[in-house]
């Protein structure tokens, strides 16, 4: 029992690492530009598929991560520039538009990569199991994923809290109009943040595709859970995305273990209760 509980904690934390990659980009683009981009799940899946192809052709997992992320950056830029920009501040239009974009990406991916579950091949040194103190055995890959998530989280936190460009982004989340009156081209800033978000989503697809596998529908499954992370943590808050990812990851792992038939309820029930008490999420602020 105890050992299972520990294993589920690691399961939950490794899922949290993956969710954080996806949710952090989503929450920052929303915080800065009030843009709701529901295609983030499709970015995840497409990045994963492209990474899969790169990994199969080159045999390099690192190249797959970078290539999957970069391909989504390019696509995301075009979608921002030529589609989302025209929606202005209309959230309903953004949601409908980006859901449509997500369907298109999903169908094109189905045509290219087919309907089977595909697994991004990982390098040999990440395969297999490792033994934990106390005789527990756990997949090595998911451990490394936790480390990876922590590193990316730390890098993002430093960028956001300690650099001048991070200060500009935080200022933009506070008061976008005043930032532009300070001489800063907020549109250009948004291109940077949006590119970062796209990269994180594409990278998450490659990293996630190596243990959750890639299949039609994986885009929506991960999007729904990432949205819960963003809403629980508070829209626009990087710290909220971290804490939210951990909460959702652990709830999901323990829910599947203890109450498998109610695992979705275990996820959405606490979210509903939280929203009753704090409608803007844990770190969300009045706007």
């Amino acid at each position: 029992m105890t050992s299972s509980a520990i294993l589920q904690a690691i399961n939950g934390t490794s899922l949290a690492a993956l969710l954080f990659l996806l949710a952090s980009g989503f929450t920052l683009t929303f915080g800065l530009m009030r843009v709701v981009n529901m295609a983030h799940g499709a970015y995840y899946l497409l990045g994963g598929y492209i990474g899969l192809t790169i990994a199969e052709r080159t045999g390099s997992f690192a190249l797959a991560i970078v290539g999957g992320g970069a391909a989504v950056v390019a696509l995301g830029y075009l979608i921002d520039r030529f589609l989302i920009r025209h929606t202005g501040e209309n959230h309903l239009a953004q949601v409908l538009l980006t859901v449509g974009v997500a369907f298109v990406i999903g169908d094109v991916s189905l045509a290219i990569w087919g309907g089977d579950s595909l697994k991004v091949p990982t390098p040999v040194f990440l395969r297999g199991a490792m033994e934990l103190p106390g005789g527990l055995v756990y997949p090595r890959y998911r451990f490394v994923l936790i480390l990876f998530g922590v590193c990316v989280g730390a890098a993002l936190w430093l960028l956001y809290r300690k650099t001048q460009i991070g200060a500009v982004v935080r200022a933009g989340v506070d008061d976008r109009e005043q930032v532009s009156a300070t001489g800063i081209n907020v549109d250009r800033l948004f291109v940077l943040v949006s590119a970062l978000a796209s990269f994180l989503a594409g990278m998450a697809g490659v990293v996630g595709g190596a243990f959750l596998t890639l299949y039609p529908g994986a885009d929506w499954e991960i999007l729904v859970v990432a949205l819960v992370v963003v809403i629980v943590g508070g829209l626009g808050s990087l710290g909220g995305a971290m804490l939210g990812a951990l909460i959702v990851g652990l709830l999901d792992a323990y829910g599947r273990w203890l109450l498998p038939e109610f695992s979705y309820f275990v996820l959405f029930g606490p979210m509903a209760v939280l929203l009753l008490v704090r409608p803007r999420g844990i770190f969300g602020r009045e706007s």
Partner: protein
Amino acid sequence: MSEPLLSVREIHTYYGDSYVLQGVSLDVPAGTIVAILGRNGMGKTTLIRSVAGLTPPRRGDVVFKGRSLRGRPPYAIAQAGMAIVPQGRRIFRSLSVRENLLLPTSRLARASRTAADGRRTHWDLGRVLEEFPQLAERIDHPGGALSGGEQQMLAVGRALMANPDLVLMDEPSEGLAPLLVRQVEQIMKSVREHGHAILLVEQNFALAMSVADHVHVVSSGRFVFQGPPDALSREVDILDYHLGVSGSR
């Protein structure tokens, strides 16, 4: 006389459906303070927003340093040498005092600025903190934790950090204790001494009259008076009817 720093030419500005500025013209010569007086809702803030490009005029033109600002976004106008101290201060709440002050100096804000611009570079972090010692004491506090007076100092300091040729000030005395209003007055005079011009929107009649070189009175989107402060203090009807001030100061 050489061309004024800022020239507002017959602008008409709408805020949503309401027709706020109905043909307003004014000049701000370099190194002077021009004040706009008027009751609430007469279009003072809209005038500031029109000049800064935040609410662009539908007709008319704003010319800054000899160039029309028509169609230029707010960031480009700011980079041309204009800074704003907005109504309600609009301090970035989650940024520290230091980060607030350094924001206008970020590379993103200076992207289009050339070295040969001949711009005054008097103000830097050290000079601003010298001018506002209260800010130096709270340099690492978040902007949202400052008092109203401190936030006003920070808003002015943030504007100066851009070393602008023109500072737009929208109600800088709003909500401040009398002692702080005196300090704001001193700051404006000191800013002018350093060669910056100020376009000031004020409800505080005494403050505007004491600092301004030139005064405009706005009523229902039009100017009903323009001239030096001395001349305004003799216009009993305008003082009484448009400003609610009786007699001279």
